[in-house]
């Protein structure tokens, strides 16, 4: 994927990855090495997502079975390296023990999985008990959870152990060191012979196991796939995941959630306002008040798009979106200024890289699938006159390309260059008198909190050109910026309005 680790962290993607709780090391391995689906893999993605939904639907009716299979999976160890070593040569006794443990566990897991699968009907996941391989290692047929080569397994072993036992019994009776020494020497000789025979038995066992290794590995793989699916289903259940409809180049998201931000707000006893937005090919612009959550909206879009390509259900009430070929964010606070560039310079360099990655810009090849480009307050670091010109031009350019671009901006006149324009509801519907009263009661440093509690973080679609936004001025007024400055701002606003007319 095209997002750096810091960006994944920033949009809340690492947070949901960390929230995935697998029970087995095989599931954990899938979380550690997440697979991102490419546009041509949409059928595989859909099958994967359907499996998650099927698990979600059966979590309640099969709660007991899920609980049981989770406990069984928790006891597994990752022994894929031992299995790989078995291809090459004989395993040692601890490796054979661990393999036997796994095989025993597969016999316990398989029937519980079958019960679950009778309801869930998962596609492409089948956990089979590895009974034939187990029969090889269950040397005494006791199904014991330990590994020991019994006397009965080999004539030589039986003979050596019998002789050794006699020496050991003599040793128990022996009193003095002079009596013990020759016995100890004899015992050492027999122990070496026993060891050699055990080694031969282990080599033969490893040899016999070889035809079953592929089956054992696919069993581990299936457990990993099921475990990972279950973890994603539990995550979706916790934060409200939904089966998306995959589109070519339109995005319609209703009530999207960003789990990381939602949890952080909940800790402060506040609620996350779900984000609903539509976007298509070209540029979509989000404008609105400071503190209004434009960046949160952008992060939430990025998170859900990225979650989808990582095989997770989007966190929303309803989701229609493409499987993007790439997701890119340009945000000043995430740019690396180590390259000796100013933050503005770094932003431009990064934007160029993004265009190239999307198959745009000079000399780029034809891209496969549609890319998403998210620009958070692009060019905010430069002077406002030029900044506005740059963003307008960038918006016009992106609007012509085969990409889905979403921009947040403060600058004037950008929205009319875009296909779609959203604005944060912000303080539009606020009862100014009431808020002013609340601020008066609160301590000076709590003023911003009071405003935040009245801020409507929802987005609304702007269909006609509306007058100059007033939210920033409202905030200044509520937070009691000096009257002299406020009066001056209003005079200026009046002048600008007259000039426009």
């Amino acid at each position: 994927m095209s997002l750096s680790f810091a960006q994944q962290e920033n949009i809340g993607f690492r947070y949901i990855v960390d929230a995935l709780r697998c029970d087995s090391p095989y599931g954990d391995a899938r979380v550690r090495k997440l697979r991102f689906y490419a546009p041509h893999e949409r059928d595989a993605l859909l099958a994967d997502l359907k499996n998650i939904c099927a698990v979600m639907d059966t979590l309640k009716p099969c709660a007991a079975e899920y609980g049981r299979i989770e406990r069984l999976m928790m006891q597994l160890k990752d022994i894929r390296r031992s299995v790989a070593r078995c291809e090459e040569g004989p395993l040692n006794e601890v490796e054979l023990f661990e393999l036997k443990r796994f095989l025993l566990q597969s016999e316990l897991i398989a029937p519980v999985f079958a019960q679950i699968n009778a309801e869930a009907r998962l596609e492409g996941i089948e956990i089979r008990a590895q009974s034939e391989a187990l029969a090889l290692l269950d040397l005494d047929g006791q199904h014991a959870a330990t590994f020991f080569i019994p006397d009965a397994y080999s004539q030589t072993l039986r003979a050596v152990r019998k002789e050794k036992r006699q020496v050991e019994e003599a040793l128990r009776r022996a009193g003095s060191e002079t009596e013990r020494a020759p016995l100890m020497a004899e015992r050492a000789r027999l122990a070496a012979a026993e060891d050699e025979e055990e080694r031969a038995v282990r080599a033969a066992l490893s040899e016999k196991l070889r035809p079953f290794l592929t089956g054992i590995l696919s069993c581990m793989d299936a457990i990993g796939a099921f475990d990972f699916t279950l973890a994603r289903a539990r995550l979706a259940q916790r934060y409200g995941g939904v089966m998306p409809e995959l589109t070519e180049n339109t995005l319609e998201m209703e009530d999207m959630v960003n789990p990381r931000i939602a949890d952080a707000l909940q800790e402060r006893k506040r609620e996350f306002t779900p984000v609903s937005i539509e976007a298509g090919k070209g540029a979509t612009v989000i404008t609105g008040a400071n503190m209004g959550g434009k960046s949160v909206a952008l992060k939430t879009i990025a998170l859900n798009a990225l979650a989808l390509s990582a095989g997770m259900l989007p966190f929303a009430k309803r989701a229609r979106l493409p499987l993007f070929a790439g997701i890119h964010i340009v945000s000043e606070d995430l740019e690396n200024v180590d390259r000796g560039l100013s933050s503005f310079g770094a932003e431009i360099v990064r934007f160029n890289e993004v265009l190239a990655a999307c198959g745009l810009g000079d000399g780029a090849g034809k891209p496969e699938g549609i890319h998403m480009i998210l620009l958070d307050e692009f060019a905010r670091g430069t002077n406002p006159e030029e900044g506005a010109m740059i963003v307008r031009a960038v918006t016009r350019y992106l609007n012509r390309q085969n990409v889905m671009a979403v921009l947040t901006t403060h600058y004037d006149g950008v929205a009319q260059e875009a296909s779609l324009h959203y604005e944060v509801v912000g303080l539009r519907d606020m009862d100014t008198v009431r808020v002013k009263g609340e601020i008066a009661l609160a301590s000076p440093e709590q003023g911003a909190d009071v405003i935040a509690s009245h801020m409507n973080y929802g987005l609304y679609r702007v269909t006609r050109e509306q007058g100059c936004p007033r939210d920033a001025r409202n905030i200044c007024r509520l937070l009691s910026l000096s009257d002299e400055i406020l009066r001056d701002i209003e005079t200026d606003a009046g002048n600008i309005a007259r000039k426009c007319e």
């Binding site: 160890k77 040692n92 006794e93 601890v94 054979l96 023990f97 661990e98 330990t146 590994f147 020991f148 152990r161 050794k164 036992r165 050991e168 040793l171 128990r172 003095s176 060191e177 002079t178 015992r187 050492a188 122990a191 070496a192 026993e194 060891d195």
Partner: protein
């Protein structure tokens, strides 16, 4: 049958040494052999590595550990090849050591084992639990070089302390230092702080004031600063959450203040890492030491023979040691009579050769210092 009656009441036991070659393995073998006749199942491990037939530090002969059939052993993967018992692999623990993961093995025959268990106290405590759930009646942890943390009550209910001529050429030093170690291990239990209070201790120390109130040592203050300040004038007892060291107590003593019956307690005897000198000064200043959880020392064993080529008088050592402590004192080689002494000539020749090579090395007190650093 000398050790058995002394250790019979305990379910878990540790064996610690004042130094190397104090006779720990001899004691362990004696226990293994005595217990073998009782039909009890033993769980056996060590802290770190032990059980080599030649001591890796001093290159002297060491008796191997010989277990009975049925014994459970926890040792590192790499050590299994040196265990010539018939092995049944019972469990893997996930505890890593430099010699591989610690594995639980059941001895399906008598034989020699080499132990290399975990060196983390919490893992040793967990291992004991695993032994018991697998059917062991008694768990024994063999200590490596002066690992006193072993005798922490969390790991074992009782301890056997091994000492001997290898500790020092000077019999007085052997006896005094061993008696002092025993004294620290067997300090009385404190009664000033409840288990809940200790568990919730927010900082480095707790104070019980004369009026019964509880106060914690503020993060920015050192123990000595607090004890010197007027604000803590009414302290009746102090509990130190971590290790009690000479470095911690020196500033307290330097303050020159005289306390009136102040009790200073640590979690258990393994947390007291102080010299006799410090201890004596504490007493003079009116500070007495105590522990939250007392250790039982089941026995002290003495080994009059040194690996470094000199012997102490066996009867003098045993009887003088016994006169200094209330714990039973046993002479390992004499009373337990397990090994004959044929290997000793070899060892001495080897050591003489080496000592010649390392003329500057002073072996007279080679292990006494390690005692303190742990």
């Amino acid at each position: 049958m000398l050790l058995l009656p002394l250790i019979e009441p305990y379910r878990s036991l540790s064996i610690i040494g004042m130094c190397k070659n104090a006779g720990k393995t001899t004691v362990l073998n004696s226990i293994l052999s005595e217990m073998g006749t009782t039909g009890k199942t033993l769980g056996l491990t060590s802290i770190g590595r032990d059980g080599e037939s030649v001591d890796v530090v001093t290159q002297t002969h060491k008796p191997g550990i010989y277990v009975r059939e049925g014994t459970l052993i926890a040792t590192a993967l790499e050590m299994l090849k040196y265990c010539d018992i018939s092995r049944e692999i019972v469990e893997t623990t996930g505890f890593p050591t430099p010699l591989g993961e610690v594995v639980l093995v059941r001895a399906r025959s008598d034989g020699n084992v080499q132990l290399a268990g975990p060196s983390i106290t919490a893992q040793l405590a967990k291992l004991s639990g695993m032994f018991f759930s697998l059917g062991a009646d008694v768990a024994i942890v063999d200590g490596a070089l002066s690992r006193k943390t072993l005798c922490a009550p969390a790991v074992s209910e009782a301890t056997i302390l091994c000492t001997g001529a290898s500790y020092s050429r000077d019999i007085d030093t052997v006896i005094e230092d061993t008696a002092f170690a025993t004294l620290l291990l067997t300090l009385p239990e404190q009664a000033d702080f409840s288990e809940e209070e200790r568990a919730a201790c927010p900082g480095k120390a707790l104070f019980r004031m004369e009026d019964g109130t509880l106060r914690a040592l503020p993060q920015e203050l050192q123990l000595a600063d607090a004890l010197r300040s007027q604000a803590y004038a009414g302290v009746r007892a102090v509990y130190v959450a971590g290790a009690v060291t000479d470095a911690l107590l020196k500033p307290v003593l330097m303050a020159g203040k005289r306390f009136d019956e102040l009790t200073l307690s640590a979690e258990d005897g393994s947390k007291l890492l102080i010299h006799q000198d410090t201890y004596d000064k504490l007493l003079l200043r009116g500070i007495s030491l105590a522990v939250a959880r007392a250790t039982r020392v089941a026995a002290i064993t003495v080994n009059p023979f040194s690996a470094y080529g000199f012997d102490l008088d066996k009867e003098e050592l045993r009887s003088r040691m016994q006169a200094r402590v209330r714990v039973p004192v046993i002479n390992v080689l004499e009373d337990l009579n397990l090994e004959d002494m044929a290997w000793r000539a070899d060892d001495r020749a080897r050591i003489a050769a080496r000592e010649e090579a390392e003329q500057n090395a002073d072996h007279s007190h080679c292990c006494g210092n390690e005692e303190i650093t742990l």
